[in-house]
């Protein structure tokens, strides 16, 4: 009796599995109806807003949109696996032009959009900022449309500054002095906090590097992270965290951990991307929402040079069989009206006209809008080495950051990192 029940269950399971397999085959092969569009997006405020709007797009065009949404790392893994296999399951993809743009374009994963961006004068491609557009262009071909831009700004606590009788730091030396004083005056509060993870910190460190007059590579494309300027930048970033940072600082912090320390009242200064400002000003997330202030990055010897980059863009999968519909979606999602609306909700966009429009910055804290305006003028168009193997390069140039944070010899580390970075560059230019 028992055995026959077992056998029956086994048979039923086998039948189910086979039926499931067949069903998966039939739906996988056809990749849905011709009017279904598969859009892959990252977890981001931009995505939350666009998802609410998608029904409008579906109504207008009759195209059905299927959204798949992932965290940043999971998104990378998805692309690595699926694009490698040449899938047509992805039509529109949200990607990071500076992180994987070169790799994807070189591998032939991105469809050429050059004709499409020029096709609609009302949509106005020339309205997009030059720096971001350069980052989504590969070999003279447009492969993506930038949707989110970022500049590094200084987040600070007005109350702590006032109590210490200090002005908002204008230079790196001011920042070091202010961080020291506040840390000494307020037990349990750090003077400064920022990202500490080897890879994660590279983007925020880049603005320090430029402000000290350095860059990841020199004019000839050689590694230049052991110049006196670069060494001074590493030392400053490290000193700020090692000497004036939180107690028990870890070497794993990305923006979420660092932001948590700042918004819980644990630090006076914090340098971070402006696009994350809502985390600090939203009272439901932040204990310091009413006393947080924003300023341009303090000036180093070379001035205040923050990065000004497109952190995310939309591209079309070269293997997609619905490239025209995919373009329709991108055109809709990046229109002037949509960009204005999303920017007002707190996500800095890439359209000049929206930044020029008073409505475009009406919802921003005044000091933040001023800081962004200042950074876009002097900004540098990249926040990490411009190579194909970005993850590897980030780990190499991030090594001296970690050494500096933990109080080690960052100058020696910069010398050895420079050698490793040069090897990587030589390897790529072979």
């Amino acid at each position: 009796m028992k055995r026959s029940v077992l056998r029956l269950t086994g048979l039923a399971t086998a039948a189910l599995v086979m039926a499931g397999g067949l069903a998966a085959c039939s739906s996988g092969g056809g990749s849905g109806d011709s009017d279904t569009l598969r859009v892959t997006l990252v977890n981001h405020v931009w995505t939350d807003i666009i998802k609410k709007k998608i029904p409008e797009f579906e109504k207008q065009t009759g195209i059905k949109v299927e959204v798949a949404q992932f965290g940043e790392d999971q998104l990378s893994d998805q692309y690595n696996v699926k694009l490698n296999a040449g899938t047509d399951d992805i039509d529109v993809m949200m990607y990071r032009p500076l992180q994987e743009g070169k790799l994807f374009a070189k591998n032939g994963y991105m469809a050429d959009l050059t004709d499409k961006v020029a096709s609609n004068a009302d949509w106005n491609w020339s309205d997009f900022q030059e720096g971001p557009v350069n980052s989504t262009t590969y070999d003279g071909k447009v492969v993506g449309v930038p949707i989110i831009t970022e500049q590094e700004v200084l987040y600070y606590r007005k109350d702590l500054l006032k109590a210490a009788g200090l002005e908002v730091p204008k230079t790196m030396d001011d920042l070091l002095a202010a961080a020291e004083k506040i840390k000494n005056d307020n037990p349990g509060v750090a003077g400064f906090v920022a990202r500490t993870g080897k890879s994660a910190a590279v983007t925020q460190f880049s603005s320090f590097l430029y402000s000290y007059g350095g860059d990841f590579t020199d004019a000839d494309g050689n590694a230049s992270i052991n110049t006196p300027e670069a060494k001074a930048a590493y030392a400053t970033y490290g000193k700020l965290i090692h000497d004036f940072g939180p107690a028990n600082v870890s070497t794993d912090m990305s923006w979420s951990e660092a932001m948590a320390i700042f918004t819980q009242g644990g630090a006076a200064f914090y340098t971070e991307a402006d696009s994350l400002y809502k985390n600090a000003t939203d009272p439901s997330n932040s204990k310091v929402s009413d006393t947080v202030g924003f300023a341009p990055l303090p000036a180093g010897p070379a001035g205040s040079k923050a990065y000004n980059v497109p952190s995310w863009a939309l591209g079309v999968n070269e293997s997609s069989s619905h490239q025209d519909n995919a373009w329709k979606f991108i055109e809709w999602a990046t229109s002037q009206d949509m960009t204005l609306e999303i920017q007002q909700a707190g996500v800095p966009g890439a359209r000049t006209s929206v930044w020029d429009d008073p409505d475009g910055i009406s919802t921003y804290p005044t000091d933040l809008a001023a800081a962004i305006a200042a950074s876009t003028k002097t900004g540098v168009g990249h926040d990490r080495p411009l190579v194909i193997k970005v993850p590897e390069a980030r780990e190499i140039v991030g090594e001296p950051i970690v050494v500096a944070i933990t109080g080690g010899d960052s100058a020696a580390s910069a010398d050895s990192a420079n050698k490793a970075f040069q090897t990587l560059l030589d390897d790529e230019n072979k």
Partner: protein, 308 residues
């Protein structure tokens, strides 16, 4: 007409005879073929990739470079060899602790007692949690500033510890998490073995005047050897290829100093972060051979002992 049908019939008969004789192979063959393909295709593909300089995209052009990747990997004392040692320290360490602790708990649960069922359920709880969720939970507990672990230490006046973020404390901390999660499985296996033991040898030893430790060491443990080997096999395979807890707590590369980067984490980083498919495949093949060698050693030694 009749000749042909006769022929067909005899053919059918020979076939059914043959099928009858080989029916255990015949019925198992579809499953064996599928399982074979599921193992063989990825393995052959990985071996092939490990002999090429494939990087960036597996669809991109790549050259056959023979054993170049293997040579490069074996010469890599910065990431590869430390990852190998870490893999063994991690797997060996958790295995020993889990076996000792598992045995102790299993012995405690062996004899019936009041509330036994509740205790068993409580002990099994860590086992049913997803490893990634377990990693996230302990990451919060071990957070250097707001974590419960440091607050507890502070309550007793002990200074805060770096736990997961320290260069030398991270590996012991993730080992602790693995022990927390997987000891229950060892308990489960050993308890099953214990309950199936007959009482007589134990009683005989008791009458001969053996104390509790002697009875455990000279009677129970030898009888339990087969069960222990099963537990060792299952746990060592799992421990060697641990990934979720490490990734959930320390991310790609195993932290700033690669402090918890085992072979598995290293291979993952090579393929999904660096897109170096050739080198990653070579590492995975080496890893695969290592695991097979270890499993063979465990089972082979056992067979040898049994035949003596």
């Amino acid at each position: 007409m009749s000749v042909t049908t006769g022929l067909a019939a005899s053919r059918r008969k020979t076939f059914s005879d043959w099928a009858n004789r080989h029916r255990k192979w015949l019925f198992a063959s579809p499953a064996m073929i599928i399982v074979g393909l599921l193992i063989a295709i990825p393995l052959v593909w990985t071996i092939y990739l490990s002999l090429t300089n494939s990087e960036g995209s597996v669809r991109a052009d790549h050259d056959f470079i023979g054993l170049g990747n293997y040579a490069a990997v074996f010469a890599d004392f910065e990431r590869f060899w430390p990852a190998v040692w870490r893999t063994f320290i991690f797997a060996g360490g958790v295995l020993i602790v889990e076996l000792v602790l598992g045995m102790a708990i299993a012995l405690l649960l062996w004899r019936p007692f009041r509330g036994e069922r509740w205790v068993r359920v409580a002990i099994l709880l860590p086992l049913v949690a997803t490893p990634v969720a377990v990693g996230m939970m302990w990451k919060l507990i071990f957070d250097p500033n707001i974590g419960f672990a440091n607050q507890l230490l502070g309550f007793f006046g002990i200074p805060a510890q770096p736990w997961l973020s320290g260069e030398y404390t991270a590996l012991p901390t993730v080992m602790f998490m693995d022990i927390w999660q997987w000891t229950p499985m060892v308990v489960l296996i050993l308890l099953a073995g214990l309950t199936s033991l007959s009482e007589e040898p134990d009683e005989a030893a008791r009458i001969d005047g053996a104390n509790a430790w002697q009875r455990f060491w000279y009677v129970t443990l030898p009888l339990l050897r087969a069960t222990v080997v099963v537990a060792v096999l299952l746990r060592s395979i799992d421990a060697l290829k641990t990934f979720d807890i490490l990734y959930a707590t320390k991310g790609k590369g195993g932290g700033a100093f690669h402090e918890v980067e085992t072979l598995n984490v290293y291979a993952y980083g090579l393929s999904f972060d660096y897109n170096e498919y050739g080198v990653a495949s070579a590492v995975l093949i080496i890893f695969f051979l290592l695991i097979i060698a270890i499993m063979w050693l465990i089972t082979f030694r056992r067979k040898e002992k049994a035949s003596k």
